[in-house]
Symmetry: C2
């Protein structure tokens, strides 16, 4: 049927073992031999069988992607980024959306890893913040890299984007535009990333001498619906805040923990006939496709998602690579950055 290592060995007049060495980039092969073998490999279009390789070496050349994030755009960007490195190195990507609230979700992830003997997994936020999961995976002796906003693991096991810093840029942007009365809709406080973003934002405001009173800071759930609820609260249209909906009492800007919630804010503003950005500036985080399509388009923060995913794969592969084969080099990581659009303007 298809050509095997034996064929290559025979054709190039060396042993199986030597061919194996060539395949695995072992340095312990004479230059002449290596070239001879490579030539044959090329000629007969040989590619080693993954399953046989895996069976013999207990590796699978499969990487897993574990996520509970509902943001399809984020997932898609991660996948494409990861794959651009994966497939170039002979690895494939197996996807695994999980339910981090489910009681047996750790078991489920471990089973996922075991079933296919994955060589490593990439864990996306927010489940990447789950300490127990990371511990269990480490315990199971599987390589992993977490994508996160905080440095909550060894350098080898994490790829961090500095969201705190990015939110400082957002604060500066709004202060420059003259905003001092700003509403902030955070993400769930149990997530480190939510706290990073919030703290970065508030700290920078402080250092610009802008202090937000507690009622300007509310906790959202990262969903569109939650954005709507929180916007009502900030814009003074809930029962508890009745009759307070005068323009003078409203914040002149609202920043949300993500674009989904910011979209909710835009929806409420539209319903209340509050003009954005003339009467209210709005900003989000993620640079979702929404952000550029919605009217007015949304000022937001873009993370280097694709690069982060690539870096994660590289770290993973470097780990699982046998000691004597060449390591690959790591890209420089790009920082998140502010994207200014229509939804923010002078106070």
């Amino acid at each position: 049927m298809s050509v095997t290592i034996n064929d290559v060995a025979r054709l190039s007049g060396v042993s199986k073992r030597t061919v194996s060495r060539v395949i695995n980039r072992s340095p312990a092969v004479g230059e002449a031999t290596r070239e001879k073998v490579l030539k044959v490999i090329e000629e007969v279009n040989f590619s080693p069988d993954k399953q046989a390789r895996g069976l013999a070496s207990s590796r699978s050349y499969l990487l897993g992607l574990i996520y509970d994030n509902p943001d399809a755009l984020y997932i898609d960007e991660v996948q494409r980024g990861a794959l651009s490195v994966c497939s170039a190195l002979g690895y494939e990507l197996v996807v695994h959306p999980c339910h981090s609230k489910s009681p047996d979700f750790i078991e489920d992830c471990l089973s996922f890893i075991a079933r296919s003997k994955l060589d490593g997994v990439i864990i996306l936020p927010p489940v990447s913040e789950n300490k127990a999961l990371a511990a269990a995976i480490r315990e199971a002796n599987c390589a992993y890299v977490r994508l996160a906003s905080v440095d909550l693991d060894d350098h080898d096991n994490i790829v961090v984007s500095d969201e705190r810093e990015a939110m400082k840029a957002m604060a500066d942007h709004l202060v420059e535009l003259g905003h001092t009365d700003i509403g902030f809709i955070s993400g769930p406080r149990r997530y480190r990333s939510s706290m990073e973003r919030m703290e970065g934002f508030l700290a920078e405001l402080e250092s610009c001498n802008v202090t937000l009173p507690p009622e300007r800071i509310i906790e959202g759930k990262n969903s569109y619906e939650s954005g709507i609820t929180c916007a009502h609260q900030l814009l003074g249209t809930t029962d508890s805040a009745n009759a307070n909906n005068s323009a003078s009492k409203r914040p002149t800007a609202i920043v949300a923990n993500n674009d989904e919630m910011a979209a909710g804010v835009l929806r409420v503003a539209s319903d209340l006939a509050i003009k954005v950005p003339e009467e209210l500036s709005v900003a989000g985080f993620d640079d979702n496709i929404l952000a550029s399509r919605i009217i007015p388009s949304l000022t937001t923060i873009k993370r280097p998602v694709s690069n982060m995913a690539r870096l994660a794969v590289q770290k993973l592969i470097n780990k699982s690579q046998s000691a004597d084969s060449e390591k690959i080099t790591l890209d420089e990581l790009v920082k998140p950055h502010l994207v200014k659009r229509e939804s923010t303007d002078k106070k």
Copy 2:
């Protein structure tokens, strides 16, 4: 390390081969023996090694997802749908975005299949319409199922959603609202799905005695930017149509081949201060997340994407299953349906 088929054989006092038969649900095993073996399997928590199995039987228990579709939301929905069936049956899903314009993309897909000895692949639109790809995959002896809008393959190899029918509902909706002067932005005409949608829409209009002149029907590229270009054309703001931008000359409704282009139309309407839906109704196709978030929210058509993906996996697995093991039952397929929102209203 972990328990193997040998352990099970030893513990239950039968041969390897018999255990293998039990695992594979072969009927050629005595009832008593089967139960004895199953009991041991249960006790020692044995699960067969995929790689070894694959090596011996040349199967991988891996399914591939091939797509050139840039719509992350669609991909995500497919993945989740497919996985809900996959993992329940011990299969994993390997993803493969491809570039259908690239000259070696068929080779690339074949290599993807060969590399991991995939048991089958699901091909998403629009590349699912590519006849050469399907032929090549069939040639390579790999099972496949295409997701498409037209019945362009054997029943076993395709899952169809009736987009033509769905667009009839869209036509009826607009006619009911009193629209007779309607602009239509099609997708690329080389795609069957574009043609299906367009033909379904126009045919139904005809049968309601509404005929669109040629200049009301233009070909878009399915992108947001293309939506903007086409909207300008339909709303008479291009050079070639200068001075024709009087309300009376404009269509009272514009339907686009997808939500992305419809979003472009909304953007242009906003820029031209044309009120939607008061002065112009707009509709799309897909029910992207955009559709519900954008202001005004978009009337569109939702496909049963997740169900289609599940069905595809079921077909695939039924094929690759050995003849003597149980087949699984197929779900009923839900049809695409119209979702009415804010962007369409009475003329």
